[in-house]
């Protein structure tokens, strides 16, 4: 199959998740394809972005995409905000998981700054894309402005420099903030770019103060173990040739850094230090994702501990032999040849994936499964499918990157974070 055809299949297949898993009444999208799964606000953010791709690729009409977007934004606009436990959000932020039907908080989960940031990356993508004068598109832009303006980013610091991981009505702020290099770049940039309650610049400084610039396997990079950390913010922001003060000091940029992260992942897979015997040059990608969850068991003479959904990373672990095929696919903009080669390898090993063209969250040939190929995650996860849609499109046309380059909050946030150069 030619590259274009393959990417069409993968992109469209991944997009179908959002058609299948959405509640059309409120625009909320299930976290994963399992029955009775709640909605995840982060997945909604990916959905809102994916609708714009769908229009450009002819999978949805513009009117349909705008209507889906509008339903979603109207839901969030009308949803209850407050400090009591049965709300949908607080201080403009939203709870991580919501009931797919009622939109109320589930599982006593936290008001989540990072997941709210992922949601609003989608909201702002929609606002940038739907720029016509039709009443729907005018309303989309107005709602996006209103909802984004509601968020009290500064509150989320809890008086400290870095943003807290979350807040619950039962216990207040969770105990630790976002530190070290991780997917929170997007959170800080959106927080800094707020016209109403922005984060102060010192919060970004505090976050980057915990960075580590390391030489690992001959690669100089800003270290983060799981591959998704090097991908999530890049789904929306084109980090090519723009630098904050840290990257200026290192003579690099975050895009280049993600390219190196792929190299480190492949090198780790080549070395296979835990001797799973299943990794290789086309079988790599340790990231956050589903896992066998079998606990500790002895496999081929070694005690192995198989995790459930967890952020796996290299080279310091955790590594239970589970590969996230979607993480390799989402590396497309950074290492297209390597990513495509890995995807083709996975499709050869698991040809049944071509039925849906949705890559599962994880595979672990070292863990017992239904057949000799070991454990395979059931169904699909919205985050994986959303990331696939956006990264494939960024690789092919740069659509999302181009849209967000012109998004005022993104531009302002990047500038307040000290980014300069390139398209900025």
């Amino acid at each position: 199959m030619l590259e274009d055809e393959l990417l069409d299949c993968l992109g469209h297949g991944a997009f179908r998740y959002f058609v299948d898993a959405v509640n059309p009444a409120n625009g909320l999208v299930a976290d994963r394809s399992r029955k009775d799964c709640p909605a995840s606000i982060a997945v909604v953010g990916f959905a809102l972005s994916a609708y714009t791709v769908a229009v450009e690729r002819g999978w949805l009409t513009r009117e349909d995409a705008a209507a889906r977007t509008l339903v979603t934004l109207r839901f969030f606009e009308a949803s209850a905000q407050g400090s009591t436990p049965d709300m949908t959000g607080y201080k403009g932020f939203y709870y991580h998981f919501l009931d797919l039907q009622s939109g109320k908080r589930l599982w006593q989960c936290e008001v989540s700054p990072i997941d709210t940031a992922l949601l609003f990356a989608g909201v702002l993508t929609a606002a940038a894309y739907f720029n016509d004068a039709t009443s729907s598109e005018v309303e989309i832009r107005a709602l996006a402005r209103e909802l984004y303006g509601r968020i009290d980013w500064d509150w989320a610091r809890n008086g400290k420099a870095a943003v807290a991981q979350g807040w619950k009505p039962e216990c207040g702020f969770l105990h630790y903030g976002w530190q070290g290099y991780n997917e929170a770049a997007l959170l800080y940039i959106l927080g800094l770019g707020s016209p109403t309650h922005p984060l102060p610049s010192l919060s970004y400084v505090a976050w980057t103060a915990t960075y580590q610039w390391e030489r690992i396997y001959g690669c100089d990079l800003l270290y983060a173990g799981p591959l998704f950390v090097h991908q999530f913010s890049h789904a929306w922001i084109d980090f090519r040739k723009i630098q904050d003060s840290f990257m200026r000091e290192k003579g690099s940029d975050y895009f280049q850094n993600s390219c190196r992260a792929v190299d480190v992942q492949r090198e780790y897979a080549r070395r296979d230090p835990n001797e799973y015997g299943t990794y290789g040059p086309d079988c790599w990608g340790l990231s956050a994702g589903d896992g066998p969850g079998l606990g500790t068991m002895r496999v081929r003479g070694r005690e192995r501990r198989f995790f459930e959904y967890v952020a796996r990373g290299v080279p310091f672990g955790p590594d239970d032999g589970t590969i996230a095929p979607g993480a390799a696919l989402a590396s497309l903009p950074f290492a297209p040849v390597l990513a495509l080669s890995a995807v083709r390898h996975f499709l050869e090993q698991y040809p049944e994936w071509e039925e849906s063209w949705q890559l599962p969250s994880g595979v672990n040939p070292a863990a017992p499964g239904a057949d000799s190929r070991g454990w395979i995650s059931e169904g699909s996860y919205g985050l994986d499918q959303g990331l696939a849609v956006l990264m494939i499109e960024n690789y092919r046309s740069g659509l999302i990157w181009k849209l967000m380059r012109n998004s005022p909050p993104i531009r302002l946030g990047l500038k307040r974070a000290g980014f300069r150069g390139g398209w900025l």
Binding site: W213, R215, D220, E303
Partner: protein
Amino acid sequence: MTASLSRRGSSLPGRYHLLIVGAGPAGLIAAQAAVRRGAKVALIERDLLGGTCLHKGCVPSKVIIRTSRLYREMRDAEHLGGRVPSGIEVDFPAVMGRMRRIRARLSERVSAERLATSGIDVYFGDARFAGPDSVTVDGNVLRFKKALVATGARPVRPPIAGLEESGYLTYENVFDLTECPKRLLVIGGGPVGCELAQAFARLGTRVTLVQDEPMFLGHEERDAAQLLSDALARDGIEIHLDTQTTRVRVEGSDKVADLVHDDAQRTVSVDQILVGVGTIPNVEGLNLEAAGVAYDSTGGIPVDDFLRTTNPCIFAAGDVCAENKFPHIETAAGRIVVENALFLGRQRLSAEVIPWCTFTDPEIAHVGMYVNEARQRNIPVKTFTVLMHEVDRAITDGEEEGFVKVHVREGTGKILGATVVASHAGDLINEISLAMSAGVDFHALAQVNQPYPTQSQAIRMAASAYVESRRMSVGAWLMTKLML
């Protein structure tokens, strides 16, 4: 070159050149160093010579850790190409018996008799300052020119409801156990908690480890703490991070603890509870006010960089004042006090390169600055990382877990600090400590010839990565110039 004092020719008969309160590592080192150089030394101890380290801390814990490692290796024999022995049973009395024998053997080196033979006047009893230059002990008044307070610290008793009534262990009495608890709750994820949790788990105890911070060993690097967390989980320890123990009670023969993580609550039933949440300095009863020595019941005795207290003739060292409570810091402090108190020295504690190590498996050792400390001081820092799975000897030993990270001031070869996570990290860190103490640039470590294969090759590999990186930078710079 060192000066010396004449013990017998003192112009102030009856007055000690150096009076030391506390015979732990700092006190003993200071006493031995001072008397070797001719000083008249009094050493006062109210309990056992050798202090916590020898009797209740480092020494007994290392003995037990070694045996527990053996049991782990037996169970893991297949991984190393061996056969798992059948019917592995832990003989806990034998474990504790070995610990007591080794402790007694090492205690012999610091017996009162030996110290007295070396010329130190040893007094047993509670010391109490009677004035700025005198101490009473067991009815005697001892006068001094200089004094050192090295009374150490004791375990913090956390204010957990019901804990006192339910009874619990600390490092002070855990080594008195005669039976291995079947179920143990360890409160505290610092060095003591992690080491003992792992050791007991390997001896067959079902261990629950509760830490109120989001990661173990709060001050260590995130990756080191993550590896430790994984290792502890592999040993079967039930881990609860970012979790508070809010209440303890006795139900039948069980001790039941309530744990709270954010808003989620659970209870755990155990046979014993071990608390390792830090120490508080032993400053009570010393009548430090009479000596003009300021102190704080939680922070201890404040000292300057020369280890002087607010009374310039009285020094303090070790756990009674220091932030990092490790015996090798105490020994360094003991040496410094002797120089500064008796020989007009100007030695600073901050000038010392002091590594430390948590003796879990893998061990976690550190020296110098952490990256975030360097960045807070606006020092550009680059870390050279070698994974232990890149090191031939670690592979042959089946000890591939861990890394060597050396933090270097970017653009120079100055080593700022290092973290080592490895089976023998406590030994590996010494090469880096030596380089830092001697002011040796990192590139020099790439030239060190080492026997092959050794695990310390990891350090040379990190240094070689640095050399290669420098060559590439220079090469890139030259290319830029040539192209211009």
